[in-house]
Amino acid sequence: MNAALIIIAAVVLGSVALGIRAGRRVPMNLENWTVGGRRFGVVIMWLLMAGEIYTTFTFLGASGWAYTKGAPAFYIIIYGTLAYTLSFFILPAVWRAGKRHGLHTQPDFFIKRYGSRALGVLVALIGVLSIVPYLQLQLTGLGFIVEVASNRAVSSAAAIVIAFVLTCLFVFTSGIRGAAWVAVVKDILMIAAVAVVGIGVPVMCFGSVGNMFKTLMERMPGYLAFPGGTPNLGVTWVMSTCLLTGLGFYMWPHVFGSAFSARSAETIKRNAVIMPFYQIPILLVFFVGFTALLVAPGLKNGDTAFLSLVQKTYPPWFMGFVGAAGALTAMVPASVLVLFASTLIAKNIYRTVFAPGAGEDRVIRLARIMVFVIMILALTSTFFFRKELVYLLIFGYDGVSQFFPGVVLGLFWRRATKQGVAAGLLTGVGVVIGLIVAGRDPFLGLNAGFVGLAANAAVTVLVSLSTKSASGGWE
């Protein structure tokens, strides 16, 4: 037992207790469990959304990308900003539809708007398939962070299993409220850790951030402009990737669904206004990646840049805070991911396909059990299919982005039909899988998901125009 480990354990256990408490006085029906009774105000929405968005990928991946790839990493601060801007225009309409029709999930939205259960099941399936690798990525990141931060006192596998049980507990008891409360602790710790390390490390090593950049530009000219240290991630790749991920961002079933938790459409708008400030900590994470490149070149895995630099420059107890922040950074998104995956399976797949007459209490009971089932699935594949993970994740983002035409046209274009959306969705997903499997991503310098999305949008519009629209009971 070392100091770092004690801090990690105390913070994580304390947060989980807070998460479990959060659901104590509320009856756990689907409305409370999945969308928090639609009662979240601006502050808690901001913390929850930030909690979902700032994942271990942002923590380790952003510094890793800065370390190995250079400027192409900047796409990470851009696409979030684009996504928040879009959310200002799209999410209030989504929220209103949710309130009017009592929607809980993204497939609910598709079913209600297009009057097609089959389309809802298709959306739910793509959603769950995209969520599982994302969940796996969080678990892998968590294991890695805790193992390093505790100075190998806890193995990665043990950390993953413990965190998995704790996460399941507060999701099971409190649903989205649990996630929101743990997110409060996580966001504060995370920002503090990133601020201390992001400014501290370049200053300690080079005197100032400016000096660090000057040294980097002298030693590796061109690294801080596209395509940086990569052969194929040029400016067109960055542009298409920013657009794709910016559009796709709120199409993740868990982020989309969280919008329903807001108290009002107004809350969502105000939240969108302040969201871009959340990108600033990512800038600090880049600083760490770049500094690491200069003082610790040649790391085998760029994702280890952040932690190895912290380990080198800070006392062990500080590693405890970073480890705790890192663990929560994985647990919060994981909790929301697993919550929505469970609801999708219970409500939109199981009930729609196998038990159309099932009452709400049966659905919520099944959803809460599914939390454990999905976590065990993700856990198993984390331990057995590590290498395929990156591919699955790329596919996940490319996959959920394909919902964009169905959502936006569904909201703002009356002529959009279920045939159009289904055909577009299948075309988009087909193109993406085809290009990735054929090793053609990037395709002509463009992100493969972007190519799929363009094909998807075109097919959706063309097929919609040639079929009869029937949006029964939507307006």
């Binding site: 542009m239 920013c242 459409a265 800038l283």
Partner: protein, 73 residues
């Protein structure tokens, strides 16, 4: 389209113009501004300004559009 929505959309287009379309024009490391390489300074600057544009969009929508339905009871 309502007047407020039109203004809001125009403001909302700004990040897309500056952070996507303009990228080929600003893809350079120098000059260094505030210690940051030019490309990163440009990106960061527009990211930080986006809330300002969105806030303006929010105010204009409020001013020109009828009050939001479905708000707090």
């Amino acid at each position: 389209m309502k007047k407020g929505t039109k203004y809001a959309l125009m403001l909302g287009a700004v990040p897309f113009l500056t952070l996507v379309l303009a990228l080929p024009l600003v893809n350079r490391e120098r000059p260094i501004i505030l210690g940051l390489p030019f490309l990163l300074f440009w990106i960061l600057g527009w990211v930080v300004l986006t809330p300002v544009f969105l806030y303006a969009a929010y105010r204009l929508e409020k001013k020109y559009n009828p009050p939001d339905e479905g708000g707090e009871p």
